[in-house]
Symmetry: C2
Subunit: 375 residues, 2 copies
């Protein structure tokens, strides 16, 4: 079912680990605990998700003085051994007891953990260990995230595949959409089709918002029937080998009225202006402004309340944020969405979302079907 | 589609909040922040999930000196107002800034938060506030969880409905299962049907494990085709008005062989022994032992590696744990699973899981179709 099985993409996990270790050495960190699932996967290929933050499926112990280890429990032992080249160590007597041993063995003086993905209750256990072993505890944020922000060629290739597959699912559903279907049925059909064509799964809960519901940017599909000549916003994405796609399209089941076409053209114009502004060195806020100005000039400024876009990779929302406030600069290899929208309470909404990768002198749009031209 | 819409079940959120406040007063806590989604829902009816622990959809600020408030952002304002009777307050300038105001206003001297559902990074912000306002910060665990462990009549009724609907989905899929279907297709059909019949969704990712895969208690469905005369373990649950069901059945697509029937009978006998042991005052470990002894006596002790069961409610896994170690006592109103299994590497596995509610003098099985008798 999955065409992609034939051309495997090789990812160099060892290189990623070495980059992390180099960062750790600069901050004089001897060892670090990686808990966030996307970061574990990025560094090792370990695919297991967490079933909520209270049910970890493992932690990576990265030491500047030895080989990285995957700490997990018996349920994930085999998976860890199959998916990674790390040494897999079980915490059969609990995580603190195992860390106790590793910290002694590696003579850790400064130990770090992911403050943005560690529970307060677990941090208390780390504090106890620090007191016992007289090491310094250094909470850090966004260490692996900063590596993840620049995508390599294999990652960009995976996101192109993810996007192409996502577009094929959209096309399939679009051809079968009828006015009698409810939003929930449509969302459910989208997600079934994603699995059928070999995606790992949806990258987020698909949004299907018809008529007035389109005015909510994060609408949850309801049992509302779409109805004839009704507009529908579909925001959907899927996962291929861990990498996410994210795309929004607007369609009319029947005939679009003049207002709808007018608003659609404004949003598309804003999107094109945003895409045209993307190149290395440009500030995020200036990309946002390029698109926002078009919408403001059309008199719809107050109907575009969210940021223009966000990074995509192993997570469907990740750094950078393309917001009107951000002074962060675009760099080659960043993959971001450009998704302006106009949301009018009582009327509905239109959002157009494509993904682009920043190149050396501009950007490349990952979507092949860049808008949806039958309206 | 949902038969249950006709007989609404009234839940007294105010009473739950008062119980929490009584506990807070006993520990001299002036105010507390509730962050875990199930706990928010339990106390207020607020249904929004979190999209990961880094993307909260709100916090409940409970003060012994005033009305509880739902703190959230503009995306969830309407939902909060519709679903709860709390005052909805937006943190447009960030959560710490809003807490800053509330803590002054309520003259908080001792402030508590959920240590098991608060990120370390956020706890640092609370520590800053504590230093500024000179209040004491009291991390707590399992405060609302301890209220949730005893179910009220309306909650038990909802779980009966959830279980009945889950059984109807199982029946539907069972009638349509063919040897040509893959595990993933079957799981996908189960989850589509759940939505079709009006469930809020599955309560966890459905397990469909055929043949040897059945030897993994937490098997993830693969694209393996089930095949003729093959055994399949199906572990599935759904959500009705927030309340979860959880059930495991084993079927054979075709004809079961003698070994399979023999193992199935042992597991069923162990399950019945476990259920027979359930009554108020009995230790969890003694319930576990009642079932485990049957499996051990059959010579399969080493093939039953997990605990006998767990609590179910707004979360599919919650307190209590029915393990061989737990000295916790059963109390009327607890809802637990009884799910012994035998997992033989290279052969496969059988697990039988029903839910029971502890009554004044024993227990009531929530499942109507208590085993699956066609084999």
């Amino acid at each position: 079912m999955n065409d992609y099985a034939e051309s495997p993409i090789i990812i160099d996990y060892q290189q990623r680990l070495e980059k992390l270790k180099a960062r750790m050495r600069r901050q004089k960190i001897d060892a670090m605990l990686i808990s966030r699932p996307e970061n574990r996967r990025y560094l090792s290929g370990y695919k297991a998700p967490d079933h909520g933050i209270n049910e970890t499926s493992g932690l990576i112990f990265v030491s500047t003085r030895g080989k990285a280890r995957l700490l997990t429990d018996f349920r994930y032992q085999l998976q860890g051994q199959q998916e990674t080249s790390l040494d897999v160590v079980l915490y059969s007597r609990g995580i603190p007891a195992l860390l106790n041993e590793l910290i002694s063995e590696h003579q850790v003086k400064r130990f770090s953990f992911e403050s943005h993905y560690t529970l307060h209750s677990f941090s208390l256990k780390l504090t106890e260990l620090a007191e016992k072993h007289k090491f310094q505890l250094v909470p850090l944020t966004d260490v692996v995230e900063k590596l993840r922000i620049i995508k390599s060629e294999p990652e960009i290739e995976l996101m192109k595949r993810s996007t192409a597959l996502n577009e094929s699912v959209f096309q399939f559903i679009h051809e079968r959409l009828t006015p009698e279907m409810s939003e929930i049925e449509t969302a459910s059909a989208i997600e079934s089709r994603m699995r059928q064509v070999g995606a790992d799964g949806p990258s987020f809960n698909s949004i299907v918002a018809s008529g007035e519901n389109g005015a909510l940017p994060h609408a949850v599909p309801t049992d509302k029937v779409i109805g004839k000549n009704s507009a529908v916003t579909i925001d959907m994405g899927l996962v291929v080998n861990g990498y996410c796609s994210d795309m929004t399209r607007n369609i009319v089941v029947g005939e679009a009225d003049k207002d709808y076409l007018r608003i659609h053209r404004i949003v598309r114009k804003a999107q094109l202006a945003g895409i045209a502004a993307v190149k290395p060195g440009v500030l995020m806020k200036d990309v946002d402004r390029a698109a926002r100005t078009i919408i403001a000039d059309s008199g719809n400024g107050k109907y575009f309340g969210h940021s223009l876009g966000h990074g995509v990779g192993l997570a469907v929302h990740e750094a950078p944020t393309v917001s009107f406030k951000s002074r962060q600069k675009l760099k080659p290899g960043m993959v971001i969405t450009i998704e302006p929208g106009i949301y009018i309470p009582g009327w509905g909404g239109i959002r157009l979302e494509n993904m682009v990768v920043v190149t050396d002198d501009g950007c490349e749009v990952l979507n092949s079907n860049t808008t949806f031209l039958d309206i």
